[in-house]
Symmetry: C2
Subunit: 394 residues, 2 copies
Amino acid sequence: MDVPSATSRWPVRLARMGFRFEVLKTDPSGARLGRLTTPHGVIDTPAFMPVGTAGTVKGLTQQALTDLGVQILLSNTYHLYLRPGHETIRRLGGLHRFMAWPGAILTDSGGFQVFSMANLRKLTDDGVVFRSHLDGSEHFLTPEKAIEIQQALGSDIAMVLDECIEYPAERERAAAAMKRTTGWAERSREYACANGGASITPGQVLFGIVQGGAYADLRRDSARQIVDLDFPGYAIGGLAVGEPHALTCEMTALTAAELPADRPRYLMGVGLPEQIADYVACGIDMMDCVLPTRNARNGCLFTSAGKIHIKNARYAEDPGPLDERCSCMVCRTYSRAYLRHLYLANEILASILNSHHNVAFFLDIMGKIRQAIAFGDLAGFSSQLQAHLEAGQP
Amino acid sequence: MDVPSATSRWPVRLARMGFRFEVLKTDPSGARLGRLTTPHGVIDTPAFMPVGTAGTVKGLTQQALTDLGVQILLSNTYHLYLRPGHETIRRLGGLHRFMAWPGAILTDSGGFQVFSMANLRKLTDDGVVFRSHLDGSEHFLTPEKAIEIQQALGSDIAMVLDECIEYPAERERAAAAMKRTTGWAERSREYACANGGASITPGQVLFGIVQGGAYADLRRDSARQIVDLDFPGYAIGGLAVGEPHALTCEMTALTAAELPADRPRYLMGVGLPEQIADYVACGIDMMDCVLPTRNARNGCLFTSAGKIHIKNARYAEDPGPLDERCSCMVCRTYSRAYLRHLYLANEILASILNSHHNVAFFLDIMGKIRQAIAFGDLAGFSSQLQAHLEAGQP
């Protein structure tokens, strides 16, 4: 079905130009197999989005991303706003053209980085004043400004500015942040409706974000408030920030239950290979995580038999592939011994190959999850994956 | 013609298995178009060999090297001996298998690095004692040991250990180093003849190296002594170490004139794009240089209009390709503005793309040089290239 159904409330350019979400099948677990259509291509869901912080997925060329089958990646508003600047990117034709990436792009609002990386100076209902982690310069980020920046970048999917809190957080603090998030979502929606044409990508859509900490009732309230604003898609934010996995799943499931079935659901900033299927079973359609690329640069590699620290001496003369069950370019071509050598010698190729494999591994898991949903047996796949991962652990 | 013609003096396994050099055409300038056949493929000469110091050409995957048309690369005995160790590589099936590179490999003897990077402890006619730049451990490198290591690596072309001196150097010093180099070449040849079967690559050949500093008569004497030992190929070492380009050319030309026409000639460690054709005109068939990859990592890019420092503010919003006359993947895909952003953000992709372009640029020049020789007009190509490069300079 087309999204949103309540098109009358959205400007046509925002709601209809190129954006479409269809649920093709639902698994007994609650997992959904779907198809998301954007101005820059179709995305099979559930989808894992590699993170391209500063307009590049670290260690991978855009050709490698294409070869890996990446259909959508995430890029960071905060980083691109500070460097090279969103107006520079606008003048260069938008982020797709700037980074020569033909596929879809989702941009975050910059909020998460402002709350975690920048030097936070002042937070009010108006917005947030912060100092750049690069040069200490002062900036003022508002819900409207976050949209304006993302319109200049021209991502396919933009995110509203939300207030991210830590875990654990007092109920009062969670409630206040949730309230502010709703207020900001209203302003974001208004600004986007009034200025939809300003985006360098016609058909750019805006997703709302549900907050509420680890409080079930706050999560439900937040979801209802955000859904009431009628976004073409919904994200669940503020999870996987230190709480136990079971709690993440609990909050995700009860939030997802409040979201309309015909809109895509995006769980922000997750997850571990052994957790991905759990989130999908909660009805999640999209997720992103820096783990595959960040861990790769630290020599931590994901395999079907668990994590490998490639610097380990046991791999010094290991002629085998990183992961015998993986068919990626790295596993087809190079040995563990060579990968260990590259890592110890601090060679650029270590980052290239490790990133390539880890991203391939995450995408492969997600591909298998989609296949399992198509066969109606995600639970079977999950227990099989879990058994492999546990068997491989020392 | 097959090489060497005086096969009776060489073990068959060394001289005949897979190694062959043919001069296809000679240009009025003295440049030669040729074809070098090795156990790992055919190399069109004159050839530029990218440098893969530690078993990887920095910033490039082996697939990228293949895509770039690289037929032969150079790897460093000193580095691989120290890490991961030549016996490790031997046990893993040799350097080709270790690094998953199907093309040809030339290994240096390690001498140049011992004289330039390591902590040199003692130099005698026996060999050289040095301390590792990695961990300070002490090692003893002899002509025989250099062969043994290269046999474990299994390169297609191994080099004899020689004594490298600085420029300028006193005549006495140059003469002594030349004499020692000849002695070491004799021992290398003997060891290789006696132990040819020990190489992990059947058909591995050994090149001699001419020294003699910047003294014409010493160069001629050295060439005659080394040629008298009848190697399947000859290198000219100890040049491009700080002397004027004209002097490099003079020494190269007079040395090349002493070398047999039916063997490949390799000028070590050169050169700049504007100098390559000069060396080819001296009758050089092979050369190697770290410049394209090292400069790439420092944001210094070679183009048909001269060098570009990509961090320059003038490229901040430049949507054009790095080099309008270049058809490499980078120039076809990315803008100067994006390359500048990647460099300033210290992204891995900066090193990847910059290295890719610079190596493509050097290979492209060499390809055009081969074409010019085929047309019998290397001089015409040289002056055209020079004009372009000069026109592009500020």
